[in-house]
């Protein structure tokens, strides 16, 4: 058996490398404007980050193509983790057989039952929405909403019924206002008022 000799200098080397990475993180970290949404079945964010290997299997498995690797604007700790981006497509979790959760090799995405999926909550930006701001007869968000979570008032203006909204992103994806859609999905727990429906009970 050979004798083991500890390389103290290697510890210093690793320490230096870690310091460089931390410095790099501090210098080049941007604040992202868009909200960071997760695929269905991602539990608590901290636990999710602790498990996710950033292997891209879920991104590849998604049939609608609504997932993408988060870019550096979301920070190093989220870099390349799967981000649900309604701008790409809606999340059709009811029809896809939860392809993302099945693809995940480490269980960072769990196969929660459909009723428990909560990707986020949509919220209408009343200054961008052409029904609110210009009185036009738009209806595409409600038309595409599969959960009856959008209601029109007597003037044809949309309201999100947040206790029915699952955050699937169909509304944001289809909103005709561009480049910034007038209805946006925000992470669960962050929308508490404004754009909520008459039956808004919060999240």
């Amino acid at each position: 058996m050979k004798k083991l000799k500890i390389g103290r200098r290697d510890f210093i080397g690793v320490g230096l490398a870690g310091a460089a990475a931390a410095l790099g993180y501090g210098l080049f970290h941007d604040e992202a404007e868009a909200p960071l949404l997760r695929p269905p079945g991602a539990q608590d964010e901290e636990e999710f980050l602790g498990r996710c290997l950033r292997c891209q299997e879920c991104v590849r498995a998604c049939p609608t193509g609504c997932l993408e690797p988060a870019d550096r604007d979301f920070g190093t700790s989220s870099l390349w983790t799967p981000r649900f981006n309604p701008a790409l497509a809606k999340c059709d979790y009811g029809l896809c057989g939860r392809a993302c959760a099945r693809a995940c090799p480490v269980g960072a995405l769990c196969d929660v039952p459909d009723e428990e999926v909560r990707l986020g909550t949509a919220s209408v930006n009343r200054s961008l929405c052409i029904a609110w701001a210009e009185g036009k007869d738009c209806l595409v968000c409600q038309e595409r909403c599969a959960y009856n979570a959008i209601e029109f008032d007597e003037r044809g203006r949309p309201h999100v019924v947040s206790n029915r909204c699952t955050g699937c992103g169909a509304c944001q994806n289809t909103c005709v206002t561009c480049p910034n859609p007038a209805i946006v999905v925000y992470p669960p727990g962050t929308v508490t008022s404004g754009g909520g429906g008459r039956r808004n009970r919060g999240n």
């Binding site: 497509a89 059709d92 007869d137």
Partner: protein, 331 residues
């Protein structure tokens, strides 16, 4: 391994530190996965004249008004209704390519009355093929991204294919090729990208579902044609009702077969909502007249629907369907 002196150690540690730092910097470069952003969809395609869109050639001898068929079995109703109208021969389908624009947009089972009845679609396909059509295509946009699953759930996909048609379902936001058509005299929709499939057919048949619609009031035959557009979203940014009417001045199907066997009374266009079953199929060539009649099934008058009023104004048809004549058939 060799013994490291100070230089070697700095070199090694420095290499690793520089490597990790450099990696992070490189990952910030464009092309390293910048996240997708909202794009404004534009109409893309070659220009085309409205005359390239297939329209009835005017030599068809048929009943000028509406035929309203009542019954329960789709095939019987179609047979009886079309016979009363003038028969499939009146459409002159021999060796022609037929495109049937259905409503297959929603992932709802047929009983929810949000999409055209698959039995009706299958019946129409069969009758077209029997009348000598060279090819029948059943066509729509779906509003769920998984188009394949949507047409399976609403039953139209399997029904159309079993009857011998080609089923084309575009997922919204992933549309196909189109040609840009100028609409003469239009103020709301001066030009529109019309999907290529429309130009590839010789005869168009419009098979809408009669139902409530949250924004337009009702979704009937005129509204059903917006599924022919490459970019459906644009219609909502302008005046929706006028745009629908203007679109109907350039896309003129040879026949409208409206599915009012079951109708959705509220919470349309997707449902679920209250379903009534008048058990009717309405056949006609004048979309304004067909739509005007259908309003009555919902307890509305034609003047309450903006696009019907504009349609009459623009000469698409007449809302006075009684003057055209209403033939009633029961099976």
């Amino acid at each position: 391994m060799e013994n490291l002196d100070r230089r070697g150690f700095l070199g090694k540690a420095g290499r690793i530190a520089a490597g990790l730092g450099g990696l992070y910097i490189v990952s910030t470069l464009p092309g390293c996965g910048k996240n997708g952003e909202e794009e404004c969809p534009v109409d893309e395609g070659p220009r085309a004249s409205p005359s390239e869109i297939p329209s009835p050639d005017g030599t068809v001898e048929s009943y000028p008004g509406l035929v309203v068929v009542r019954g329960s079995k789709a095939d019987d109703m179609l047979l009886a209704g079309l016979e009363a109208w003038g028969g499939m021969e009146a459409l002159v389908l021999a060796d022609k390519r037929v495109l049937i624009k259905v409503n297959a947009a929603f992932s709802r089972p047929p009983g929810d009355a949000a999409t055209t009845s698959p039995d009706l679609v299958a019946g129409a396909v069969r009758m077209c093929l029997e009348a000598g059509a060279s090819k029948v295509t059943v066509f729509d946009h779906t509003l769920q991204d998984l188009a394949d699953k949507t047409i399976e759930i609403n039953g139209i996909g399997p029904a159309a294919e079993a009857a011998g048609a080609e089923m084309i379902a575009y997922a919204v936001r992933k549309p196909g090729k189109a040609r840009i058509v100028e609409i003469p005299g239009a103020t709301a929709l001066p030009s529109a990208g019309v999907l290529e499939e429309i130009f590839q057919a010789d005869v168009l048949i419009n098979m809408p579902k009669a139902k409530h619609h949250g924004g337009a009031g009702l979704s009937l035959s005129m509204k059903n044609l917006i599924g022919c557009l490459q970019n459906m979203g644009q219609i909502h940014q302008i005046e929706l009702h006028r745009a629908v009417a203007e679109l109907n001045t350039v896309i003129k199907p040879a026949l409208v077969i409206m599915d009012a066997t079951t109708i959705l009374l509220d919470n349309g266009p997707g449902g679920p909502g209250t379903v009534a079953d008048p058990g009717e199929v309405i056949i006609g060539t004048d979309p304004v007249a067909v739509d005007s009649y259908a309003c009555g099934l919902f307890g509305l008058t034609p003047s309450e629907l903006g696009h019907i009023v504009y349609g009459e104004e623009l000469g698409v048809g007449t809302s006075d369907f009684t003057s055209l004549g209403v033939g009633e058939v029961a099976t």
